[in-house]
């Protein structure tokens, strides 16, 4: 009985982490899908989301003044808006001017933007850890037998799933979503359909960072503390999740993120907590060896 509770504990832990990886992975995969380019600055947009949340909830103190539910709602909307804006500016400054140049130039530009953003965040908010504060969320824990489920885990999971469901509807049910899918399959053919591909690129550089920024905020709420270089490891893991699912594939990014979260939590619980990161990347290497295109892309029908 005790063992099964422990398993549920690790399972819920994994799903929470997985939701966060999945949200970040979506940003990588959407940009890659349309531009065939890894946005190396995506991890820093995620960090930026965490710090925007910190600035609003702690520095501005709206957490204390508005009360938890409203404060979190307002912060969420503002963080999504601000990181979307940051992503759009990044595209304008670091990518759009290079759209006719070599692919490698864009990659170098992305790396530069990543270093710039990380340092800018450090200069603005400092190199030390910043705490979101324990009183932001009511410390509710559901007890189900011997299994404890904190409210914040439920919140992170529900938010992430809701956002992913919206994204799915956008991609499959709207005209602009159809254009995004077409541009991901064949940019030239999409242009011949009268699609303004430049606009599609702008759209993925708004949605991707918005999802990443939301993930940053959720990490702040869940773990309670943030750091200027947290985007590196999270970015790398989410990128791994995107590859596991098949880069360019939206469903794949969601599945890959969840799988990676579960793998980490179960590895931590049953193997060794100090080896969990190593385990993650061992799995990445194994998947790259066995199935270099990821788990899902064979079902091309679902690409983006």
């Amino acid at each position: 009985m005790l063992d099964f509770d422990f398993f549920l504990q690790q399972l819920s832990n994994g799903l929470t982490r997985g939701s966060i990886y999945a949200l970040i992975a979506l940003g990588y995969t959407m940009v890659y899908g349309v531009m065939k380019l890894i946005n190396f600055a995506h991890g820093e947009l995620f960090t930026l989301g965490a710090y925007f949340g910190y600035a609003l909830l702690v520095t501005r103190g709206i957490g204390a003044s508005l009360g938890p539910p409203l404060a979190i709602g307002v912060t969420m909307i503002m963080v999504v808006g601000l990181t979307a804006l940051a992503g759009h500016l990044l595209e304008r400054v670091a990518y759009r001017p290079l759209r006719h140049s070599d692919r490698l130039a864009a990659v170098v530009s992305a790396l530069g933007a990543s270093i710039f953003l990380q340092n800018a965040i450090m200069l603005k908010w400092g190199a030390q850890y910043r705490a979101y504060g324990a009183d932001l969320l009511p410390n509710v824990v559901f007890h189900i037998g011997g299994f404890n489920l904190p409210l914040v885990r439920v919140l992170v999971f529900v938010m992430a799933v809701a956002v992913m469901a919206c994204l799915h509807l956008f991609i499959h049910r709207t005209r602009l979503g159809l254009a995004v899918r077409a541009a991901a399959i064949d940019q030239g053919a999409a242009k011949l359909m009268g699609i303004d591909v430049r606009r599609v690129i702008a759209v993925v550089f708004i949605i991707g960072p918005a999802l990443g920024g939301l993930a940053g905020l959720l990490v702040g709420l869940y773990y309670g503390q943030i750091n200027f270089n947290m985007g590196q490891l999270y970015g790398l893991k989410a990128f791994t999740a995107a590859i596991i699912g098949g880069i360019g594939n939206i469903t794949g990014a969601m599945v890959g993120g969840m799988l990676l979260g579960l793998l980490e939590a179960l590895g931590e619980g049953y193997v060794s907590s100090s080896w969990k990161d190593a385990l993650t990347f061992v799995v990445l290497i194994m998947i790259l060896v066995v199935r270099p295109t990821g788990l899902l892309p064979e079902r091309v029908a679902e690409k983006l």
Partner: protein, 241 residues
Amino acid sequence: MLELIDLKVAYGGVEALHGLSLSVARGELVTILGANGAGKSTTLMAVSGLVRPKSGRIMFKGERLDSLRSHEVVQRGVTQAPEGRRVFGPMTVEENLRLGAYTKKKGSEAALAGVYELFPRLGERNTQMAGTLSGGEQQMLAIGRALMAEPELLLLDEPSLGLAPLLVKSIFQAIRDINAAGVTVVLVEQNARAALKLADRGYVLDVGNLVLEDKAENLLNNPQVIDAYLGGRRAAENQAG
């Protein structure tokens, strides 16, 4: 309706069109012939705004197309079924067709019905993934998709490429019908004989230069064309006999 004036296009430093001039009148079916690398596809890509000309002008109904972006060209009423079909394989037939009407703000039901009437096969397979269609069906889809925007000028790049003779025949019949319905057509083809039988006029390109232009029936009987593009005189006589 369409006029190219001294059009030069270069890829990197290599010039692919060395000053092409041609014109297409409203309602015409004009074919552009030539060997591989003659610049036929480049010409269509330049009209569609996918490659920028180095110099020269592209006029459509009195307006310059060469400074417009590709989606603006589609909005002006010029669409293309490109070489190799380039259908969206992971999407259904109907999604492909709806994408063809992307620039239409209003409903595209009438256009969709028109395409299904022209190519009943597409109607039967409307929920099938485009990538699973046969080559001929994909070509029908590429043409149908280009018709969804209800264009005034339709550009067709090698619609017969890789198709069985029977399918080529039905595709060419469809092109004849489209033209008869009032759509101006520019047809790029390697299958010169079939194209000339269909067309009002033809242009012959050779490595980026215009070498001949005439009525289609004159080109069919032109010894130079017969030797270079119609498989020589003997083949032409066999065909006649």
